[in-house]
Amino acid sequence: MPDGASALQLVLGGDPTLYSIVRLSLIVSLSAAALAAVIGMPLGAYLALVRFPGRAFIVVLLNACMGLPPVVVGLAVYLLLSRSGPLGFLGILFTPKAMILAQSLLVLPIIAALTRQTVEDLWIEYRDELTAMRVGALRRVVTLLWDARFSLVTTLLAGFGRAAAEVGTVMIVGGNIEGFTRTMTTTIALETSKGDLPLAVGLGLILISIIVAVNALAWGARRLGEIRAG
């Protein structure tokens, strides 16, 4: 396994190129998951609590969007941000900002749809109690999101996992520019096609380790929280 040994050397040797790629990947994926959570969680809670004409259609659409093809999202964001596009004036195409935006759009339906389901289930349990306490609409949303926090950690993880493992979207809107928009997944794709397997394998190991570590941390935090909150 000469490739495997070289990959471990790269990882353990603190290769600066490799770690700059890892850092950018984490910044992009975590920012995208956070941005999607800030929008998607209140949106999901709103859809869970409010009844209006066309709600069922939106819920079905949102659920369907969980399976959005990344390259299609990438293409849409590319068209939006390209010089002749409606958001071309922002000048952020082929920058990490464009990658965060694109990944947020990819992750948003996952977070919103899973939040809606979680909050709707909890609302069935809480409805009588909160209605009897005359809790207003905004406070209901905040209460349900807070009380569903342990389940929503899993939702966030699903969003982060989707963002971290994604390659098509960031390739299209980031351009895979060395030292600027190159992430772990785009590097793995590129280096594999070039036959430079040690770097690809090393990044693959790091990517898997990060996802396992984040999940383990979240699981631990969730268990601790559940024990404390009952």
Partner: protein, 240 residues
């Protein structure tokens, strides 16, 4: 600090509730006014819970009219309710009570003091930081009473609050409810337990098939009920 608005008396006029083709409450005329506790008794399906929900404004009547101190909608600030199986928020016992105090305009220190006072009142002193969902059934029911009292209610509805409790927990809840009634809060409680109705009742309202069969002071109702259905129910006969 008592809010000035009041929802009493609550008046139901010719109120019916129909659900899934079945009549739950049938042309009920009823008034809830300040005074001694009102105890709703009757067999399963008599409409006790629905009557409480109507008076709380949680259920709309299919026909008829309800008014709260002359208004078509309850102000609700001083209506409180404890359910048969209260839902505890996923936080500490203290935070559950503090949640109900949020709109009371108290600063943090006074809110914390009020939480401790209320927990002490229901026999849960020192439980401030204890996870609410880890309390026993009886303790949760007492916490629900503290949470209801945090709303500074003028009327407290109780929907079979001791239905799934052991005798010791039932006594603890009854003692608290008795104290609440003595403090001037109007108590309206549904129960299956005739002994409990006798112990707590100022007046008894006996319901069957969504209609009031008899309404009388507790002492008189249990001694010599006016209606044959009431006497039959007190004997333990099945009311079909």
């Amino acid at each position: 600090m008592r809010a000035p608005s009041s929802d009493l008396p609550i008046t139901l006029k010719d109120v019916s509730v129909v659900a899934g083709g079945a009549s739950i409450v049938d042309r009920l005329t009823f008034e809830i006014a300040p005074g001694a506790p009102t105890i709703l008794i009757g067999p399963n399906g008599a409409g006790k819970t629905t009557l409480i929900r109507l008076a709380m404004g949680l259920v709309a009547p299919s026909s008829g009219r309800i008014d709260w101190a002359g208004s078509e909608a309850p102000r609700g600030e001083r209506l409180a309710m404890v359910f048969q199986r209260p839902v505890m928020l996923r936080r500490s016992a203290g935070a559950n009570v503090a949640y109900a105090l949020r709109d009371r305009g108290l600063d943090r220190r006074r809110r914390s003091e009020r939480v401790s006072d209320l927990l002490r009142r229901v026999g849960l002193a020192g439980f401030e930081r204890h996870p609410a969902r880890r309390l026993s059934g009886g303790e949760q029911q007492r916490l629900a009473l503290a949470r209801a009292l945090a709303r500074d209610p003028e009327i407290l509805f109780l929907d079979e609050p001791t239905a799934s409790l052991d005798p010791a927990s039932t006594k603890a809840v009854e003692d608290i409810v008795g104290g609440i009634a003595k403090s001037g809060i109007k108590v309206v409680m549904a129960t299956h337990d005739l002994g409990q109705a006798r112990r707590l009742g100022g007046e008894i309202v006996f319901l069957v098939h969504g209609r009031v069969v008899e309404r009388a002071p507790a002492e008189r109702f249990f001694r010599s009920p006016d209606k044959p259905e009431s006497a039959s129910f007190l004997r333990g006969d099945l009311i079909i």
